[in-house]
Symmetry: C2
Subunit: 200 residues, 2 copies
Amino acid sequence: MKQYTASNAAYEKIRDAIFEEKYERGEKLTEVKLADELGVSRTPVRDAMRKLEEEGLIKDKRVINPTIKDLMNTFDVRMLLEGYAVRQAARYMGPDQIEDLQQCVEAAKRGKTEEIMDANKEFHDIIVKASNNDVLIDTIDRMQSVIFLFRRTVVYHQRPRLIEEHEAILEAIRNHEEEQAEWLMKSHLKKDLDFSIHSW
Amino acid sequence: MKQYTASNAAYEKIRDAIFEEKYERGEKLTEVKLADELGVSRTPVRDAMRKLEEEGLIKDKRVINPTIKDLMNTFDVRMLLEGYAVRQAARYMGPDQIEDLQQCVEAAKRGKTEEIMDANKEFHDIIVKASNNDVLIDTIDRMQSVIFLFRRTVVYHQRPRLIEEHEAILEAIRNHEEEQAEWLMKSHLKKDLDFSIHSW
DNA sequence: TAATTAGTTGATGTATACATAAATATAAAT
DNA sequence: ATTTATATTTATGTATACATCAACTAATTA
């Protein structure tokens, strides 16, 4: 269970500030300055910064400024892992989980910006979980922040054909077409990558 | 560049103590006790423990006790990532790097326990680096500790046919046979996994 | 006896003070 | 003016004190 410690609060605040570009890319973050801003001591700030270094949002005390290559690297790994995950999904997923995926697709069709984003994220999360591999799940989880940082969410939520691609993946899962599911997932992620790069 | 801070020293000592089973699997590690043993304050111990939690050697303040499933999960991810890496190696590696791999194989043939282990580790490291993907490199790096913890090194260094398998992979790389290299790497890792499980 | 409560111990979270190291600015010298 | 050396500031590393929280023990009561 997640606790409400000053460290966690600091972590979330700093992370969100980075997402909202309150701190610029490449900007040096010092412990005292952050501690002052957040009204806590340096100790929880250090904890938070360590966690942020883990997920790659901070590097050498500076807000990262991901390059195109960084993003490509991230997506290459993601394609491998989610490709595997969707294969497992196509093989083992039960009707109830498939129904959950269906719900995500529906929700993304109806909803507004924020909800669309959430539903699409959930779609991937469910598939990743279906891998039933904690190492894989954790690895993908750690990459999310960098992806999120890179992506301009305002633009991204209306990426063309995204929902159709999810639907196609869902169909492949439903029909237990592993090979097809993997291929669809990989090309889906490839399009995500290209879109992210070009809308940059 | 790595510094000689008390935090780093604490990290290495605790890690090695876990490897040497000075702390039992599942044992609860408290900050004060470790601080006393290492002759430092709690602060660097906390830093060290955080780092160890990152790489999965500690979970919830306890030394992890990896299950067979944990190991299988780790190897499944490793197979995906190193499979990809060796493909890149087969495609792009230059003669000098191939020579380095050759040296690893030679060294493993001649050397003694410790050197054999190092040379074989180095063989994989070179291939992983050839992926030219930092995200992938970091991900594999983080998994090493758990693999090392699980493996009984005394037994492992004499796993049958390990060197021959490395040689076969090297040949595939030399001949730019991507598909073959990937297949060989994956079955090589599969055998590693099986050996680790059965010699348990 | 089982269960609840109070009290005690121990562990972690947080703030702060001090020490060391890094970075920057200032002055001197070529 | 550029470099070298020195001084000053600033940031980080480490120790320690205190506060809070959790775990355990003992005692009281149903």
